[in-house]
Amino acid sequence: MKKSQSAVGLLVPHEPRGPELAKTPTGIRGLDEITRGGLPKGRPTLVCGGPGSGKTLLALTFLVNGAIQFDEPGVLLTFEENAEEIASDVASLGFDLPELIKTKKLSVDYVRVERSEIEETGEYDLEGLFIRLDYAIRTVGAKRVVLDTIESLFAGLENDSILRSELRRLFRWLKEQGVTAVITAERGEGLLTRQGLEEYVSDAVILLDHRVHDQVSTRRLRVVKYRGTHHGTNEYPFLINADGISVLPVSSLALQHAAPLDRVSSGIASLDGMLGGKGYYRGSTILVSGTAGTGKTSLAAHFLDAACRRGERCLCFLFEESPQQHLRNMRSIGIDLEPWVTAGLLQFHADRPSRYGLETHLATMHQVVADFKPTVTVIDPVTNLMTVGTFADVEAMLTRMIDHLKTENITAMLTSLSSGQSEIERGETTISSLMDTWIVLANDVAGGHHRRGLYVLKSRGMAHSNELREFVLTDHGLTMLDAAGRSPRDAA
């Protein structure tokens, strides 16, 4: 943002007017961005969702990150699994609960309630639970508390009215202790939670959802409520993988990207010439569309090669070929990308589009981008991703991805495979408004010759060429021909 050339006032429309509430960071990638810093400090947050939606994992990550990254010890009061079971559940994520317990950064108390073992007669309260929680908090000096899933009490105790008034008292008590609490709850029908706990926890409510559509599963997170703070209200896709949980935020749909003035070469001198003589804008998004075999991937390879020559880090997502196929094919036109891979400047990520839902793909891409920190990213071809979701979904999700790349000032090139009915297709029109530059590649068979051509359909912010230029793919790359159909090399 600092590099921006625009007026500063335009850049910060989302800054709150008053002071924001104090926040406790979760350390979960994306979630702290959506909530502008984390969960409300010293208050309870309700996390609800169906079975397997990731509630417990989110809550545990909050605790473990607190203990390790933020020096805030935590207490886990679990009603469903004992400490050993939980520890083994999360061991694969690299969470070493026994070690945290040993070093007094975490206290786990398993509360087991078995209705068949309990007879109820007369008045009682849940002071025993309060005492256990208080004891655990004091033992480790906890700043964070997780109750997972306190609703289990409803199955274990008969007297609903005592339970409800005691839970109300418990949440108030937690606030008085000044601990930041996460309370997980099962999603209910027509209600956020089965037992209506949202009524008691009024500070923040996060809803997790796990949907399967066309055999493809997608996890989403939504901040339903966050009293006293601005927060994103959209549904955000999130991932659970070997690194734990991460949320894909929409960083700034408010169009607050910086607009750098520096230019980057396309890797083809004559194409740079068509783009106002200097190439693409850094941080812009370029669409390269065309039917099969028109040279889209080659154009992208030139771009990657040029970026690596400048010493930039490049990420290339492949949704059609394997990296090996890609390297081999590009070598055939004289572009050898392998040394850049070896040098660690270029990284390939190949995936089958049908492997997950669109959102999961984009969330994965988001994570890869965050890990590799490229300045150039190629998605080849983006159209294969479009087969995975519905039209509106695709548009929304691509908007998020492109938006994120722009925010990070990453120059992105997306290739788009047209089916051939028309040069410009519906899918492309959908995403074209997000694109700064659009290059169309076309094949033409005339007079017994197969001819390739390209033109710049649009390129915002520069005087670009309107010519349709013929080119050839040679063993030394893509070469533009002059008006007489000769390559500069031939002419020379």
């Binding site: 007669t121 025993g128 639970l129 105790l157």
Partner: protein, 99 residues
């Protein structure tokens, strides 16, 4: 906690968990004492645990509610929560009366 050399009938080891001297805990103890005198005379032992003084003892017997009466002996362990005001239910809970 030496098991009384119980002749014919079993000895009862009862533990009452409370949190301070509250009206509920006082009532529960009175109800318990009275019931024991009537039904278990000479073969019972009551241990009172105040969780305010010994909070670390709550987890062992899985105590949530107070007052909670735990029948340690004879086995199996039984739990009765509340002020024990319904003698019938207490007796059923302790297996001293048929359900």
């Amino acid at each position: 906690m030496t098991p009384a050399p119980a002749p014919v009938r079993q000895a009862y080891h009862l533990r009452l968990y409370v949190a301070g001297q509250t009206p509920k805990s006082v009532l529960a103890f009175r109800n318990l004492k009275q019931m024991c005198e009537e039904h278990l005379e000479g073969r019972y032992e009551i241990e009172i645990i105040d969780l305010v003084e010994n909070p670390q003892l709550a987890a062992g017997d899985q105590i949530l509610a107070v007052p909670t009466l735990v029948r340690r002996l004879p086995e199996p362990i039984k739990k009765i929560i509340g002020d024990l005001s319904n003698t019938e239910r207490v007796l059923v809970g302790l297996d001293l009366r048929e359900r």
